[in-house]
Symmetry: C2
Subunit: 478 residues, 2 copies
């Protein structure tokens, strides 16, 4: 087992250096490579296959709720981005500028889209005239660019992939219902497919999207106790409608501004996935989005009948799972490590002794449990185990979050908890941005959200002691 040890040692233990563990894993599991432009990433086939699975699940649900996909240009003229004041203020510092096309200097600089609200808004102002044209429920899958100073693969990069939904509604209420619906849809995908529990809540004004009336968010907790914003859904109110003159004639013949929403999730989710489920042997991928759910590994494959049997098992399992086989001439131990690193939920070992006994060995990636299974019952066993793993991962992540969620009544407790059990802190807030700023300054923790499910922790603000309005989740965050 010398080989095994050597391989495992390539990954820093997460207890020693979580950040290093993370970058080791994304590299070792062949998820990404660094691009030649600072802060960009090459999403390698294994990483992209995970993204495709997340995308397919989400795309189906986005369409099932009546949304249509479309595609807007990559470039935004400078004057268009400037039409909505809050929006440009929020994004101007972090955009990439195109100034030349071919040999010519452009008369007007172009922004490489950091998000597409203004493009959708301009289009909507042209195609919406009457209440009959509403609602408009559009979505786009694309790349976006944000000129970030500090970057990490998946978590924060100059360019990332995402979907951005943009909708127009006749009333404020309808837009609010849509904002809720999409947040719930994201939460569902996170919990049921990524096995990643999330807190649903509202961002404070300080943390909301530039140009939004309010922002809903789902927040998840990583293994190291830091929070990660996994998706956001914005009620845009009539801000863009006023700036871009998106108006419709209602049933009474009156001209009205539309009410808008926008919402998005990104390749960041892959980073979350790694940090919620991964361990010191590498990735752990929930079965529902695993590119390969079962890896068949022949043992002593030079012996007669082993390879044939291994291929037969692969074919047998193809009915119930995404299954693959590694019949290369590498050592079985090397293969075990490789697919553990890649987080394949189950591996099936088959060797001469197993064949004699009419069995195969199934090993779970998440718990390392071993099962000796009669060959005839392999399909059922695999099916059940995949379901069990999916559920167990969610439970485990939920338990972890509960253990790492604390209550703080005052700043002393707040700071202590951040030292002793870093994670989510539930604490009351007066609603004053001054207190929010102060907490960030003193602790580097930020307000993650005002959860939809409130809990009455106390009556007074954790920071200033004045009467509190809301319980807030606080945490250090990615």
């Amino acid at each position: 087992m010398a080989k095994k040890k050597q391989f495992v040692e390539k990954v820093t233990a997460m207890e020693d250096d979580f950040a290093k563990w993370y970058t080791d894993v994304v590299k070792q599991a062949d998820l990404v490579d660094y691009g030649s432009v600072r802060g960009t990433m090459i999403i390698r086939p294994y990483g992209y296959a995970i993204w495709e699975n997340i995308r397919d699940v989400l795309d189906e649900k986005i369409k099932a709720t009546g949304h249509e996909n479309m595609y807007f240009p990559l470039f935004i003229p400078e004057n268009l981005l400037q039409k909505e004041k809050d929006h440009i203020e929020g994004f101007a510092p972090e955009v990439a500028w195109v100034t030349h096309g071919g040999d010519e200097q452009l008369q007007e600089r172009l922004v490489v889209r950091p998000t597409s609200e203004v493009l959708f808004a301009e289009h909507y102002s042209k195609i919406i005239h009457s209440y009959r044209d509403l609602p408009k429920l559009y979505n786009q899958w694309s790349n976006v660019v944000r000129w970030e100073k500090t970057t990490r693969p998946f978590l924060r990069s100059l360019e990332f992939l995402w979907q951005e939904g943009h909708t127009c509604h006749a009333t404020n209420k309808e837009a609010a219902v849509e904002t809720d619906q999409m947040l719930n849809l994201y939460a569902d995908v996170c919990e049921k497919y990524l096995a990643m529990p999330v807190i649903r809540g509202k961002k404070t004004n300080k943390e909301k999207f530039a140009g939004a009336k309010y922002t809903l968010t789902i927040e998840s907790l990583m293994h190291d106790g830091k929070a990660l914003q996994a998706g956001t859904s914005h009620h845009l109110g009539t801000g863009f409608a006023e700036s871009f003159n998106i108006r419709y004639t209602d049933e009474q013949g009156e001209s009205q501004p539309v009410h808008q929403t926008s919402w998005g999730i990104t390749t960041r989710l892959i980073g979350a996935l790694i940090m919620v489920h991964g361990d010191n042997r590498g990735l752990v991928i929930p079965p529902k989005i695993a590119p390969t759910q079962v890896m068949v590994i022949p043992v002593a494959q030079h012996k007669e009948g082993v390879l044939d049997k291994a291929y037969a098992i692969k074919d047998q399992l193809a009915n119930v799972a995404r299954v693959d086989i590694d019949a290369s001439d590498k050592m079985p131990g090397w293969k075990f490590n490789e697919y553990e690193m890649k987080g394949v939920p189950l591996r099936v070992e088959i060797g001469p002794k197993d064949i004699e006994k009419g069995q195969a060995v199934i090993v779970r990636r998440d718990t390392s449990e071993k099962y000796f299974v009669v060959l005839d019952t392999l399909e059922n066993a695999v099916k059940e185990l995949l379901e069990e793993i999916q559920e167990d991962l969610l439970k485990k992540a939920r338990n972890h979050r509960e253990q790492k969620t604390s209550i703080a009544m005052n700043m002393k407790e707040f700071k202590e908890v951040l030292e002793t059990n870093p994670g989510f802190i539930q604490a009351m807030w007066c609603g004053d941005q001054g207190c929010e700023d102060k907490i960030k300054e003193e602790t580097t923790a930020t307000s993650r959200c005002i959860p939809l499910e409130q809990k009455d922790v106390s009556d007074t603000c954790v920071c200033c002691g004045n009467p509190a309005t809301d319980m807030v989740y606080w945490a250090k965050a990615y």
Copy 2:
């Protein structure tokens, strides 16, 4: 029928002005809108749904032939693009340059990818070491930017969507096999799904891809007799491998350069689709890639039972087709025109009299033929008609191409044919670029390809009269 006339008049007749007909149709059928940056397009939901169907078909076939999807960054550092001399010469005049990020001027300018050969090449040089690492079969779905002077939706735009495959092989032969395979795959998709016949051939040196050893192409003929390059597959030889030092150790322990290919198809195919099948009433979409294959339209829908029956038919047909219903309060005549404009292959009309007779009326978009079908047999009828339409469209396009393919023995005939029956011209060529240039100068027709299926038209070059080496397809082209 006053409404109908008014509607139809919005589209210029293709006989009067083909270019105007084209732009009328792409707008009227809600395929695109113009972006706010010159030469860019907004792909609207209906256009994007067609692209999704083409993409899904192609993606499945690309994966089935062993390729893996991945994603490279949008930006290419200037020095990287310059590493392959032919490549940079070909692309430099038509790239967009990013010079600023946030408030800072960049130390090195970045190119917005016009194609990703150099990014793949740099990555391959890092991950390929041994013959065991080969072949590498990668593909990417993405947007690319080319700073074109004259633009038209789908056909030529500053930004378009595409897939670009990039592969590495141990030998020249393997790369050649791959180049052929991907061209054939493209041809198959065009013929079997888009019902668009194509000529398979090789580009002349003048027309080949910048940096390629040779370029294979599929060429299709539009309704107006102009040709359109529908897809290309390049054998890159070892050019990029030498410039980027992509080498592997072979089984004998010798260091060797890899042999590469790249191949792509783009949203251009939608333009081709329009110009191959469309008519003066709008689009005609082949059933296999039509977002909606059957549109159910209730007639006199205020009468009791009509709407219920229409919905029942929709449900019934959902087993055999992508079916939708238009139950809006617009007039049936308006709806007929709308879905003819959008090229929906079949419409099913159902009114009180039909219900009495236990029938529905099916109307074919391509031929306007009407069928009165007993309700119980509707599923079969629809299934058969969709298959028939798919075949008929291909046949019709093939006939059209044959009628528009002429032979020219000398320049006089060449010029005459371009006047009397514009289309493909089969003519012999001596292999000299001087003749190719002269033909273009005198006629604006270009060499489309040296077809794989050669035909011995004569022994002498159509231009100079010297001994000929190949029969070439010539045409004016998009």
